[in-house]
């Protein structure tokens, strides 16, 4: 298949760069007080490094034609799957969960890798089987089984947020690939049952639900994080307290530079800043799905849908948690939250998306 190459989607590129810049600034602002005594630049230096690596990775992926990835999908997915198992064996434990593998010079988060690999894998397989997806046993079932296994492995770490976003993205891909509606309904009921079971299985998840429903009833325990997140956002008002002036980041709000960075952003930059960030993710959604719609082949279309959904769904989940719309799941905000693996694979994803965009609109 030979297709004419066009220019990549410049708006998407631009939006990504703005998000990356906001992220680096916010990581510094949110984290410097925590490490003031040792090295206030500790986190921002690492984030900047990963940002640069991510940028390089994005450009590389932008150059590699996405359909050339197809032959490697299986092996990439297999390696990613192995890492997921490996993390449970040799992973580093932080705050009661085993999510990172220490490579000596840095930590990697296999679940973040799996996010992108799952999209690649599903896009490739689903584009191959075509309408067979409508058949439950021969089409849909193997993928559901795979999702259960991958989801189960990530839950084992445990990392509910990432598991949910992977499953959510995968389901979106299955829907777009043509899955039957009654299967989807069945999947929905089963999925909800599974989530309920998972919640009741771990008391901390139940506490998160109760803390979400009425955080003020547990101000120093389950509701603490939610309340302090709301304090930050509320203090921000319309224009915010000014960049660098957050008070909630002074150890009041835990995870202020990772999962709750959006709250600090809301406190410092106000509603204006928050709205801008949401707008940027809307632009990613718009450009991403537009690329998917105009892509010449099913693989590219599914790939673009998957990557876009992966980024925007996760962003929504994170901002939902921070604003108290959703219970706390422990999920980062793409491009903005501190975290090397997350940033790198988000950038890689955008790189692939940009590459797909070069073949869209050029029919």
């Amino acid at each position: 298949m030979r297709l004419k190459k066009g220019t990549p989607d410049l708006l998407l590129f631009f939006v990504t760069m703005v998000l990356l810049a906001i992220g680096i600034v916010m990581v510094f602002s949110a984290s410097y007080y925590d490490t003031l005594e040792n090295d206030p630049y500790f986190y921002v230096r690492k984030q900047l490094t990963w940002g640069l690596i991510g940028l390089v990775a994005m450009f590389v992926m932008m150059k590699i034609d996405y359909f050339r990835l197809k032959p490697y999908v299986n092996i990439i997915f297999a390696m990613s799957f192995l890492l997921l198992i490996l993390v449970l064996i040799i992973g580093e434990e932080h705050h009661g969960s085993t999510r990172w593998i220490d490579l000596g010079f840095t930590n990697v988060q296999p679940s973040e890798i799996m996010k992108l690999c799952m999209v690649l894998f599903l896009a490739s397989k689903l584009s191959q089987i075509g309408p067979r997806i409508k058949n439950f046993s021969s089409g849909l079932a193997p993928y559901l089984l795979l999702l259960c296994v991958v989801g189960g492995l990530i839950m084992k770490e445990p990392d509910l947020g990432t598991a949910l976003s992977i499953v959510g993205t995968a389901v979106v891909l299955l829907i777009v690939a043509g899955m039957r509606l009654k299967h989807f309904a069945f999947l929905g009921v089963a999925g909800m049952g599974a989530v309920a079971a998972l919640i009741y299985q771990e008391t901390y998840r139940l506490k998160r639900i109760t803390g979400w429903w009425d955080p003020w009833a547990y101000p120093s325990t389950e509701g603490y994080q939610a309340i302090n997140s709301l304090y930050a956002l509320g203090s921000g008002g319309f224009f915010g307290m000014g960049l660098g002036n957050s008070r909630q980041k002074l150890d009041f709000l835990p995870e202020q530079h990772t999962d709750f960075i959006f709250a600090i952003l809301g406190e410092e930059l106000g509603f204006v800043g928050c709205f801008l960030v949401i707008l940027l993710f809307f632009l990613i959604a718009w450009r991403g799905y537009r690329i998917a719609l105009t892509c010449p082949d099913v693989f590219g279309s599914l790939l673009a849908t998957g990557i876009t959904t992966m980024i925007v769904l996760q962003a929504f989940m994170n901002m939902g948690v921070v604003t108290g719309l959703l219970p706390i799941t422990g999920i980062s905000l793409p491009f903005i939250s501190y975290g090397g693996s997350s940033l790198l694979f988000s950038m890689l994803g955008v790189g692939i998306l940009l590459n797909v965009s070069r073949y869209s609109n050029n029919l």
């Binding site: 304090y231 509320g234 921000g236 929504f316």
Partner: protein, 711 residues
């Protein structure tokens, strides 16, 4: 191409879903940041900001002439910020140094400074010397604030009325509690922003709200008269060692209390070290059976109601029969015999008063009982006033009426009795007793003046005048002779009551001797009650209480410069030379006595000293031969005369503070050196006279980096 229409549709739905989700997010953000924003901001603010309270200075309590009885001085209170202490990683070392400087237990200190609190007091109101030592150590996480501390320059004087205030500047007793709201002022705050670990934020916002000092009050108490009363009570204690003794002096025309004192008492400065029972002001909180002093009430009612005339004749055979019961006169058989009403009062004859009570009847008797304010609080603005216990009117039998008429069966408080007697001295008008005269704000403006308050007209003015005349006769000829004061027309009534034994009946061994009187009777200036509870030896009111009454009235009238009205020669009937008294103050006591003896003037020496500190009457007063002069060698008691003041600790104060404090205490001071006070003469705690001189030695301020939060 191979992209089906259906797939495109699905992607469109997904996009739409995502857009809806993002819109929901924007709505939620709007809600959190606008609608809930202010509330959340305030809550976050409350979490971050710590208030360090800056105590207001409590208002000063003055006597009626503006002499200070309670003042506020600044002392240092030390606290720890445990987070900062822990950060220094030298907790044990710090605790050790603090314990050394303050002379307290090291482990206690260690526990305090490592508590998981943001703020903890180590010790408050630290004496200056120790405070300097601790400040000079410059320990991390240890700071101090200046806190006002109450200081009573006259120490024990008026303690039971003044009460005291506690470590948090709160009134705990006496006027200090009844006027707490006025005196307390409004605390200020220093708000400092802290992070979640309790550490001050580097560029923290700080907000200082200055405290508003409390208002000052002027009592109706006259310090000099109070001194006189306290001195006389000390004398009573020396002579008859009673369980309790107390006295109240009131201005009958206004109801203002001029003096109120009791023994035993306590020190307001050091109240913790006295038994709580001593804090009680029994003159308003405890009721007792007044005995014969109460006969003034019976008599007033009977005269006002017209059931007795001055010349009515009575017969006393040592007892009177009431129904089947026999009430004895204090003078047993054959009793007082035949006597007029006035003679009966002079004799304090029980049968006379029982007869009066029975003539009045229950309704009339209770009308005057209530009229004079018994069975109800007088409303004096002091805490813990009792209402007393009256025999219930409905179940009052003849025998009850009889015993009530001679001051038994009913229990009244001393303040009720004084107030009732003041009504007799005030043309029959009952006044509300007052302890506070006016309130002054911290800028010196009078914000409230307590006006005298007439409660009711109890008896006709003519009756009141009759009562005064009769009471004068009691003093000049009757049981109250010991209360006679040369030169003044004094009226009064003795009282000797058996104490009630808990559980019923009267004690055979315990008595309350008292004297209730007025002077001068033609223009009453003072009403005074002296109560002596369970004296040793002689217990008659005429013996144990009347001399104190006499001395209080005599010295107070002279101090108030009430002109003498009765020419001494009219009493003795002789013609005598008059002369002007020389000034004897400062001279040797022996010389002074000789000088007076040479001029045929009698001398009373009070005190054990060798030099004359004060004389009454004052120098250049015209006196007659044979009249008496009182020379004081110890406790002075006169207007403008020296009074003793406890010297406060001035160490660490600057010139301004020294000036302020010495001015308040009416002391002069001299300064050597500059900076802050490092030493003083006399030493703190010593007593000097008003107008005395204080020498302060000043030196450079010790530099310290201890963060000073107080203003």
């Amino acid at each position: 191409m191979s992209n089906s229409i259906k797939m495109k549709k699905q992607i469109g739905y997904i996009f739409l879903t995502i857009v809806i989700m993002l819109i929901a997010l924007v709505i939620r953000l709007f809600w959190v940041q606008f609608v809930m924003g202010e509330e959340l901001r305030q809550k976050a603010f409350a979490v971050r900001f710590r208030n360090v309270e800056v105590k207001a200075k409590r208002g000063i309590i003055y006597d009626t002439k503006g002499r200070s009885l309670a003042i506020s001085i600044s002392t240092d209170s030390f606290y720890a910020i445990p987070a900062q202490v822990k950060k220094s990683k030298k907790e044990k070392d710090i605790a050790n140094k603090i314990a050394g400087a303050l002379d307290i237990d090291e482990n206690d200190v260690l526990n305090k400074i490592t508590k998981s609190q943001a703020f903890v007091w180590i010790q408050r109101h630290v004496p200056e010397e120790k405070a300097q030592k601790l400040k000079s150590l410059e320990l991390p996480g240890i700071s101090f604030v200046e806190e006002p501390e109450r200081f009573y320059p006259k120490d024990k004087l008026l303690a039971n009325v003044l009460g005291f205030s506690g470590i948090d500047n709160q009134g705990l007793n006496g006027v200090e509690i009844s006027y707490d709201k006025v005196l307390r002022g409004i605390s200020g705050t220093i708000m400092v922003e802290y992070d979640a670990k309790g550490q001050e934020i580097p560029d923290a916002l700080q907000k200082y709200v200055a405290p508003q000092d409390g208002n000052s009050i002027y009592l109706t108490i006259d310090e000099t008269i109070q001194y006189i009363v306290e001195r006389e009570l000390d004398e009573i204690v020396k002579v008859s060692n009673p369980k309790k003794a107390g006295a109240i002096v009131m201005d009958p025309k206004t109801g203002r209390i001029l003096a109120m004192a009791m023994r035993p008492t306590f020190s307001s400065n050091d109240y913790q070290n006295y038994d709580q029972s001593l804090w009680r002001n029994f003159l308003i909180s405890d009721a007792y059976e007044p005995g014969s002093t109460f006969k003034t009430v019976t008599m007033s009612g009977a005269l006002d109601e017209g059931v007795v005339k001055l010349n009515d004749r009575f017969y006393c055979g040592g007892f009177i029969k009431v129904g089947k019961e026999k009430i004895k006169c204090w003078k047993l058989s054959p009793g007082h015999g035949s006597q007029t009403f006035v003679e009966g009062v002079q004799n304090s004859c029980n049968p006379v008063f029982v007869t009066l009570g029975l003539r009045e009847g229950v309704d009339v008797f209770y009308r005057y009982l209530y009229g004079f304010g018994f069975g109800k609080k007088t409303g004096i603005e002091l805490p813990g006033e009792a209402i007393g216990i009256l025999v219930g009117k409905k179940r009052c039998k003849e025998i009850d009426l009889a015993t009530m008429s001679i001051g038994q069966a009913n229990a009244v408080t001393p303040i009720q009795l004084v107030t009732a007697c003041a009504a007799m001295a005030n043309d029959g008008k009952l006044m509300k007793p007052q302890i506070v005269e006016k309130i002054q704000d911290n800028k010196g403006n009078i914000v409230k003046t307590v006006e005298p308050e007439v409660v009711r007209q109890v008896i006709a003015p003519e009756t009141a005048h009759q009562v005064m005349d009769i009471l004068e006769l009691v003093v000049s000829n009757g049981t109250g002779k010991n209360a006679y004061v040369e030169g003044y027309r004094v009226g009064g009534k003795t009282g000797t009551a058996q104490k009630i034994i808990p559980g019923g009946g009267y004690s055979k061994t315990e008595y309350v001797g008292s004297f209730l009187g007025v002077a001068p009777v033609n223009d009453p200036k003072l009403v005074c009650l002296v109560v002596v509870d369970t004296p040793e030896g002689i217990y008659y009111g005429g013996t144990v209480a009347a001399p104190a009454f006499r001395n209080i009235i005599r010295d107070s009238l002279r101090y108030l410069q009430v002109p003498a009205q009765v020419e001494p020669d009219k009493i003795s009937g002789n013609n005598k030379e008059s002369l002007y008294l020389p000034n004897l103050v400062g001279s040797n006591i022996k010389d002074a006595v000789n000088t007076l003896a040479n001029n045929k003037i009698k001398v009373d020496v009070l005190g054990d000293g060798t030099t004359v500190k004060m004389q009454l009457p004052l120098a250049n007063t015209k006196v007659l031969e044979g009249s008496k002069v009182v020379l004081y060698t110890s406790v002075p008691a006169g207007d403008g005369e020296p009074e003793l003041i406890v010297i406060p600790d001035l160490t660490g104060k600057n010139v301004g503070e020294v000036k302020e404090l010495t001015k308040m205490l009416n002391l002069n001071f001299k300064i050597r050196g500059s900076g802050i006070v490092i030493r003083q003469e006399p030493e703190p705690g010593e007593r000097v006279q008003v107008g005395g001189e204080l020498m302060v030695f000043m030196g450079p301020k010790l530099e310290n980096s201890v963060q000073q939060l107080g203003p």
